[in-house]
């Protein structure tokens, strides 16, 4: 059975090596996949043009946060849309986890489900990254009061009513901090769901650099005024 009223948003920037497989896997379970091509300058756009999906394309590279917000804006105008799932284009996430989240977001009371790699799948995370992620989660908790075990996981599920409340201004990866801040300020109900992560040399290269952790903390403090 395919989900028809759940929209999967996939922000993509220069993902020509993996995007086709990822989208084809998603299409096995979801009827509506939206790829936001964030100003890619490789063959990403060319590849996804051949697929049966909705494509939104930024003329220039803005960052994952801006791409996600573009997806939110688009889905907000679709009358029969019930929920949204954000799914990274670098192949880190598993479609099975997205399916489990999709089922849950339709029946739960919470507005957002955050994917978490802790504690079940934390062994798959490189050690230093694990420490940085835990530290960020702890600081996020202290600053915003939102208690998450994994504050920076791209796999999330949102009710459409929730995305209508959100307005993300931050373009880069720090949109995650902004999102958590808005969850706290707008008192949006949230919960976590365990999700696995598949680290490949490709996804590590494409993912966040550890030093970005410092920028994330700076953004959190800036946001929480």
């Amino acid at each position: 059975m395919k989900f028809k009223d759940i929209y999967v948003i996939v922000p993509a920037f220069n993902e020509q090596n993996v995007i086709k497989d990822i989208i084809n896997n998603l299409l096995k379970n979801f009827s509506n996949v939206i790829v936001i091509n964030d100003g890619s300058n490789d063959k990403t756009l060319e590849i996804i043009n051949d697929l049966d999906i909705k494509i939104l394309s930024h003329e220039i590279n803005l960052g994952v946060g801006a791409a996600v917000q573009t997806g939110f804006d688009y889905v907000s105008d679709i009358p029969d849309a019930k929920a949204v799932i954000t799914f990274d284009a670098d192949g880190q996430h598993l479609v099975d986890d997205a399916v489990a989240m999709a089922k849950e977001i339709l029946i739960c009371d919470e507005g957002i489900i955050f994917g978490t790699r802790f504690p079940k799948h934390s062994k798959n995370i490189p050690k230093v990254k694990r420490i940085v992620l835990k530290l960020i989660a702890k600081i996020t908790d202290l600053v915003t009061g939102v208690t998450l075990s994994d504050a920076h996981n791209g796999l999330k599920a949102y009710k459409v009513s929730t995305i209508k409340e959100l307005e993300l201004q931050f373009s880069s990866y720090s949109y995650e901090s902004e999102l958590i801040t808005q969850v706290a300020k707008k008192k949006i109900d949230y919960k976590e769901m365990s999700t696995d992560i598949k680290y490949t040399s490709y996804s590590i290269k494409k993912g966040q650099k550890l030093l970005n952790g410092l920028l994330i903390i700076e953004d959190l403090l800036k946001l929480w005024k």
Partner: protein, 107 residues
């Protein structure tokens, strides 16, 4: 001597530029006007700058130049970064709006 007059002319032009150019912030205008006056005076004689330095409680002209220079550098960095963020945010909003409009046209 020619170089001195050349610099004096530059500072006078900067002074009028500071008065006439439209600025988004009054502080930017003040900064340029006061800075050009300061440059003009310091070219006329270092004694004047010494007097200014003593008047505002700085030991001598050299230290006044140093403080003034450091403040200028840091203010410029902060203002430029803020301006950059602001422009970036506008470009982001514009690009996202174009994307959504394009998707509606291509429906």
């Amino acid at each position: 001597m020619i170089v001195k007059y050349l610099f004096l002319t530059i500072f006078v032009l900067l002074f009028f530029y500071g008065l006439l150019r439209p600025f988004s912030s009054i502080f930017a205008r003040l900064f340029l006007v006061v800075g050009s006056m300061f440059g003009f005076i310091s070219l006329l004689s270092a004694e004047y700058v010494n007097s200014i330095a003593l008047f505002i409680g700085v030991e001598n002209a050299t230290l006044l130049y140093l403080y003034f220079g450091l403040v200028t550098i840091f203010l410029t960095i902060i203002i430029t970064l803020n301006r950059f963020d602001e422009v970036n945010s506008r470009i982001t909003k514009l690009t996202r709006k174009i994307t959504i409009l394009e998707s509606k046209i291509n429906k």
